[in-house]
């Protein structure tokens, strides 16, 4: 089965760590990309760089960032192949954001027709 591991991080959590720890966190994200079953993923720039688009009666409305102030922001995702939810959970639990005040949402991916 394919799962998307959606990473929500607490703003400033990584920055609050010491240099060595920050480096370790960075390394752990890179290591995850080498896991067997890893299909892809992306890390996103901070939410301040985001642009929101809506279409109303053919008019394209563009606004700066998302409006809501949220404690956790969507920071990136991995796409993995796993046998089942437990295996996907093991990978999700290794994502640093999950232990740094953030969370990881596991979503099964729609495959096939």
């Amino acid at each position: 089965m394919q799962y998307a591991l959606l990473i929500y991080s607490r703003p400033g959590a990584t920055e609050a760590l010491g240099d060595d720890e920050q480096e370790a966190v960075h390394r752990q994200y890179l290591e995850l990309r080498e896991l067997p079953g890893m299909l892809g993923g992306a890390a996103l720039h901070p939410v301040e760089t985001a642009t929101t688009v809506r279409v109303l009666d053919d008019a394209v409305l563009i606004t700066d960032g998302p409006f809501a102030d949220t404690k956790e922001i969507f920071a990136g995702f991995y796409l993995v192949e796993a046998d089942d939810l437990d295996q996907a959970t093991e990978i999700a639990a290794r994502i640093p954001a999950a232990r740094l005040g953030g969370s990881v949402e596991i979503r099964p991916v729609v495959t096939g027709p």
Binding site: A82, D83, L85, P108
Partner: protein
């Protein structure tokens, strides 16, 4: 007889079919069909030597027949070729039960997977492992059958789409996942235990507890939970006088189920001994030295999980003379283990008996449980014993406002009238 077989073997048969087909709905339909055929044939043909093997074989063959007709599905399931064509086995055929592995543990862990909402875990466990009908579960939880049906359908859909596994968790994850399973069983027990109109749920939880004790005999907490439920349930007939609640000290001990108490205590001993005797060298010396064995058992109790400790408390509560200081110690250990303010409240009740109401009230007043009925009723009782009647009455009134069941409300009303 046949009904008992159905109840006892539903979980076993369903588990085997899920393991075989890898699909909950398909397995459930196949199991239901096999049980329907059995209901028709067994009364005249006799019950087979191995009902499980007969039911599983029949269910597999019927389901495969149906799948063959559905060619799209058939193409997906390569295993179809291997099965013979006959519709169902003769009831006199001897079938090897050992060929049908017991996969109930896989089923239980799937139903109690923490990725499902707790209420869905409860419903699914009662349906799949306990063999209750959707209507029975709906009635037990006081919701419309349609609501319960939707809850079960949603849970099964999530199992399928999210890939919740039909498997026993690996060792490092087992303790926390087992904790979730035990919590579901204990929740079912408490739903039934707290309400004289729903005694079936307590019996159902004990049945599930027995299944777990067979499947995981070396897990002290599994034995502890079963012991705990048996010990509490042994007092069910004495807990109510008609519709009125009777407190432990006022209960008629001759109405307790002493066989069940003995069984609970034996299980508790087993849970404690398993831990105490881990140290083989200690065992050899302990056999010669009773005091050493007692100390080892005390140490084992101190290192135990919450269900074993609660069972030990329930066992002490069945004594003629209650050892309140020891009960207070055990509640203290349990509170350290769980960090639960409700457990600290229970400790206060034991302290009230061991040291008096003033010491107990000091503990109760440190707790902050404004929405918890028993915090108010415990405070009320302690205040009453201390002669602070106005405060006591106000606290009882607050408890009454929060009380849910009829027996509890009447009990509190009586108390208020007495002050």
């Amino acid at each position: 007889m046949i009904e008992k077989v159905f109840r006892d073997e539903w979980g076993r048969v369903l588990a085997s079919l899920i393991g075989y087909f890898g699909d909950f709905d398909l397995a459930e339909d196949a199991a239901a069909e096999a049980f329907a055929i059995a209901a028709q044939r067994w009364p005249s043909d006799g019950v087979p030597d191995s009902p499980v093997a007969w039911l599983v074989t029949t269910a597999r063959r019927r389901a495969i027949d149906r799948l063959r007709r559905d060619r799209v599905l058939a193409a997906k399931l390569r295993l179809l070729a291997a099965e013979p064509d006959t519709a169902e086995p003769d009831t006199r055929d001897s079938m090897d039960t050992t060929a049908i592995p017991d996969e109930r543990l896989e089923l239980i862990f799937m139903c109690c997977h923490p990725a499902l909402a707790v209420e869905a875990q409860v419903a699914l466990t009662l349906r799949a492992v306990g063999g209750l009908s959707t209507e029975e579960i709906a009635r037990a939880f006081l919701v419309p059958p349609e609501t319960m049906k939707r809850r079960l359908t949603r849970a099964k859909a999530k199992i399928k789409v999210a890939g919740i596994p039909f498997s026993v968790p690996s060792d490092p994850r087992l303790p926390e996942r087992l904790g979730a399973v035990l919590a579901v069983v204990y929740l079912i027990f408490n739903e039934g235990y707290g309400d004289p109109d729903r005694p079936g749920l307590a019996a159902e939880a004990i049945r599930l507890g027995r299944v777990l004790a067979v499947l995981l005999p070396a897990q002290p907490e599994v034995l502890g939970l079963l012991a705990l439920m048996l010990l509490h349930d042994s007092r069910r007939d004495a807990r109510f006088d008609g519709q009125d609640l009777v407190l432990l000290p006022d209960q008629d001990r001759s109405r307790w189920d002493w066989r069940q108490i003995a069984e609970g205590r034996a299980l508790l001993d087993r849970a404690l001994l398993d831990r105490a005797l881990l140290d083989r060298a200690l065992l050899d010396r302990a056999l010669l030295d009773r005091a050493l064995l007692d100390r080892a058992l005390d140490d084992a109790r101190a290192a135990s999980g919450p269900y074993v400790i609660q069972a030990a408390i329930a066992s002490l509560q069945a004594e003629e003379q209650l050892d309140w200081p020891q009960i207070a110690v055990l509640y203290g250990q349990l509170a350290d283990r769980t960090g639960s303010p409700v457990v600290r409240l229970n400790r206060a009740v034991a302290v009230a008996e061991a040291e008096g109401p003033a010491a107990a009230l000091a503990i109760v007043d440190q707790l902050d449980l404004p929405d918890y009925q028993y915090w108010h009723s415990t405070r009320a009782e302690l205040l009453r014993r201390l002669g602070r009647r106005a405060e006591s009455r106000a606290a009882y009134q607050r408890a009454l406002d929060l009380a849910r069941t009829g027996p509890e409300r009447r009990f509190l009303q009586r108390r208020i009238a007495e002050i």
